[in-house]
Symmetry: C2
Subunit: 276 residues, 2 copies
Amino acid sequence: MKIELAENYGFCFGVKRAIKIAEENTNAATYGPLIHNSKEIARLDKDFKVGLVEDFQTFKPGDKAIVRTHGIVKDELAQLKENGIEVVDATCPFVTKPQEIAQEMSEKGYDVVIFGDESHPEIKGVKSYATHGATVVTSVEELHDLKFHERIALIAQTTRKVEDYMEIANYLIPRHKEVRIFNTICNATFENQEAVRKLSKKADVMIIIGGKNSSNTKQLFNISYENCPNSYHIEDENELESEWFLNKKHCGVTAGASTPDWIIQNVINSIEKSIN
Amino acid sequence: MKIELAENYGFCFGVKRAIKIAEENTNAATYGPLIHNSKEIARLDKDFKVGLVEDFQTFKPGDKAIVRTHGIVKDELAQLKENGIEVVDATCPFVTKPQEIAQEMSEKGYDVVIFGDESHPEIKGVKSYATHGATVVTSVEELHDLKFHERIALIAQTTRKVEDYMEIANYLIPRHKEVRIFNTICNATFENQEAVRKLSKKADVMIIIGGKNSSNTKQLFNISYENCPNSYHIEDENELESEWFLNKKHCGVTAGASTPDWIIQNVINSIEKSIN
């Protein structure tokens, strides 16, 4: 039986990159959780001595601080460097980009509007780069009472749905001379869905790995099930049943965005064992 | 009886300005019709000796050429000047603006997309300013087979409906890294409608002047009629009936976008006579 991974699955590019950076920087600490996955954070602590610090002022000169995927507030980054902390930047490049846009647009005199969650670390970081300030909104309604100048730069949190972003854009465009819209939404989730759609059309058994409560994993399962009735949603290798693979020729594997590679690898190893 | 003109009515700012320029430049000729109103063009010819030239190469050195409200193709403008023609620019400032935007965005490396009618003189002019070319579309469907780079600048013909413009924007935004949307739609029609709405709420008789086939004049009449049942749509002063003004205290007057001021003035003079 052929085992084939989806073209896009599990951790996105930014998360994979951050974990690699953490693994290469033992005896360090991340400022805030590196990613939103406690198992993976525990593994980094145990295997690579990468700890977790919640208050950046805890870092002492000579310490090594890893900036999480979501980025960091500009002033805190400056203060870490000022305090003699070695800073290792694991900010997702898809987050660095909106930070740069916020700064450039603010300095060019645009009113910067950010569509996202003001309390989310990513947005705290992006907003801090807008030299002359930025307005953060989560819905069109919040815009009704706000006044802007003629030229607006619009930025979205990377994880937002594009349909919701368009609502904000559609409100602003007719009301202003220029609206400069930056498509800063990361399409990793979308790509995972496209990949499972493609793979499930040719496989005769599909394994979808991820938390049973994970919304994006459930979506992957639903897409897979539409094309391949032999689709199974599992959390790890312990749930596999060897009869699923009886007389099967092509096993497709994918995983939700919160599933680390090592869990996926364990699943693949177990499937291989079960068919031999 | 008080006679009050709507805050916005008839010719838009750009048309009024162009006619004033033409009147101040006797013994000249416009390159193409100055505005889309033959009565007015005949008047300018008769009273101010402002003729009409359809081919710009007809102009001879020393001639005075008036550029129409819709603007002119960049190369033709250069050639007129090169040929020693005195150029008087009556381009509407709301058209000059998209010309400048097209040039600046094209030179900054944006793919310039223009929403408008490629055969319209305004769009021919605007497009000619995009140094590296521009794509003109009239519908979303036309975009389906087109490929652009990551950064797009979007410009609209001044007379387009904003809802249609948003459709184009909504297609482009999710598909590109940056879409810079310039709201180049002129809101003169919209303003005339707002003004007649306001005036017809306080007047007890309303006179709406404009061609019987004029779509925008009919819209003005409909809005007026909702608020003031004594609303009358006329083409000129000959249609006025004195009984309309019997026992009335407040007469509102407005006019469609193709109605020259002198027709409006004739109507007002006749109303004044009829009530004295």
